[in-house]
C-alpha cells in the first residue's frame, strides 16, 4: 500500500513534470519562433519602405518659399538629400538661395547629414532615387551609398 502510494505519486510527479517540461519546451520553441518571425517582419518593413516622413516635411518646407518651383527629397535614418529647382527669374541669386536653404535645413533637421542642391542633374538623380525606393531589393545601406554618390557629384566643380 505504502509502496504503491509512493510509486503512484512518483509516476504522477514524473508525468506531470515531464509534461510540464515538454510544455515549457514547446512554449519556448513557439516563443523563439515568434521572436524570429518578428525580427524577420521588421526587416521586411525596413527593406521595402524607409520612412520618408522627414523627406516629405523637408519638401513641404522648401516649397513654401516663393523662389522655389519644385523640390524632391529622399531620406534614410542618417542622411537627408534635398534637390530643388529655383524659379528662373530668381536664378541670379542662386548662390544666396542655396546658402539660405542649406542653413534652413540644418536648423530644421539637426539629426541628419544634409545634402542639398539646386542643380538640375541632382534633381533628376534624386527623383530617380525616389522612384526606386519602393523596390524590393533596395535597403537603407544601398540608398545611403546612392546619396553619397550624388553628394560627391554635386561637389564637383570643374
Amino acid at each position: 500500500m505504502n509502496m504503491r502510494k509512493w510509486l503512484f505519486a512518483t509516476i504522477v510527479i514524473c508525468i506531470w513534470m515531464g509534461g510540464c517540461a515538454k510544455e515549457q519546451g514547446v512554449k519556448q520553441q513557439s516563443l523563439q519562433g515568434s521572436g524570429f518571425m518578428k525580427t524577420n517582419t521588421n526587416g521586411e518593413i525596413q527593406r521595402n519602405n524607409i520612412n520618408q516622413q522627414t523627406a516629405e516635411r523637408a519638401v513641404a518646407r522648401i516649397k513654401e518659399r516663393d523662389d522655389i518651383k519644385d523640390a524632391v527629397a529622399v531620406n534614410t535614418s542618417e542622411k537627408l538629400l534635398v534637390a530643388y529647382q529655383i524659379k528662373h527669374m530668381h536664378r541670379f541669386y542662386r548662390k544666396q538661395i542655396e546658402k539660405e536653404i542649406d542653413q534652413q535645413l540644418i536648423r530644421l533637421f539637426p539629426n541628419y547629414q544634409i545634402v542639398s542642391s539646386s542643380d538640375l542633374k541632382i534633381f533628376w538623380k534624386t527623383e530617380e532615387l525616389r522612384g526606386k525606393l519602393g523596390k524590393k531589393n533596395w535597403n537603407e545601406q544601398k540608398v545611403d551609398e546612392q546619396i553619397e554618390k550624388i553628394r560627391q557629384l554635386s561637389k564637383e566643380r570643374t
Partner: protein, 119 residues
C-alpha cells in the same frame, strides 16, 4: 524650366554678340581687339563676382561667348588660390579653361590634317 533656359540662353548670348558687333561697327575695332576686350571684360566681371550669376541665369548663353573664357581663367586661379595661397593664382589659371584651349589645339591640328586650304 528647360524652355526658359533656352530662351534666356538665346537672348543673353545674342546680346553679348551685339556688344561685340557694336565694338566692331561703332568703335571701329578690329575683330582681334574686340575679342580681346570681351575676354578681359569677362575676367573683370568675374572679379566682381558678376559673371557667375549670369551663367546661373542664362546657362550656355553666358558660357559659350568668349567672355566666359576670361571668367573661367579667373575662376580656376581663385579656386586654386583658396587651396594653396597666392601661388595658386599662377598654377590654377588653366584648371577650368583647359577644355577650350586643348580642344582648339587638338581639333585645329586634326582639321589641318583632314582639310585642304580653300582657294
Amino acid at each position: 524650366m528647360m524652355i526658359a533656359m533656352f530662351f534666356w540662353a538665346f537672348v543673353v548670348g545674342g546680346l553679348i554678340c551685339v556688344i561685340g558687333q557694336i565694338l566692331l561697327d561703332v568703335f571701329k575695332l578690329t575683330p582681334a581687339h574686340t575679342l580681346t576686350l570681351l575676354v578681359v571684360a569677362g575676367a573683370i566681371l568675374d572679379g566682381f563676382g558678376l559673371y557667375e550669376p549670369l551663367i546661373d541665369f542664362a546657362g550656355a548663353g553666358a558660357t559659350i561667348p568668349i567672355t566666359s573664357f576670361g571668367n573661367s581663367l579667373v575662376h580656376g586661379a581663385l579656386q586654386e588660390a583658396e587651396k594653396h595661397g597666392i601661388v595658386g593664382v599662377l598654377t590654377g589659371m588653366f584648371e577650368v579653361t583647359s577644355a577650350g584651349i586643348s580642344a582648339a589645339i587638338v581639333f585645329g591640328f586634326i582639321g589641318a590634317l583632314l582639310f585642304r586650304p580653300k582657294g
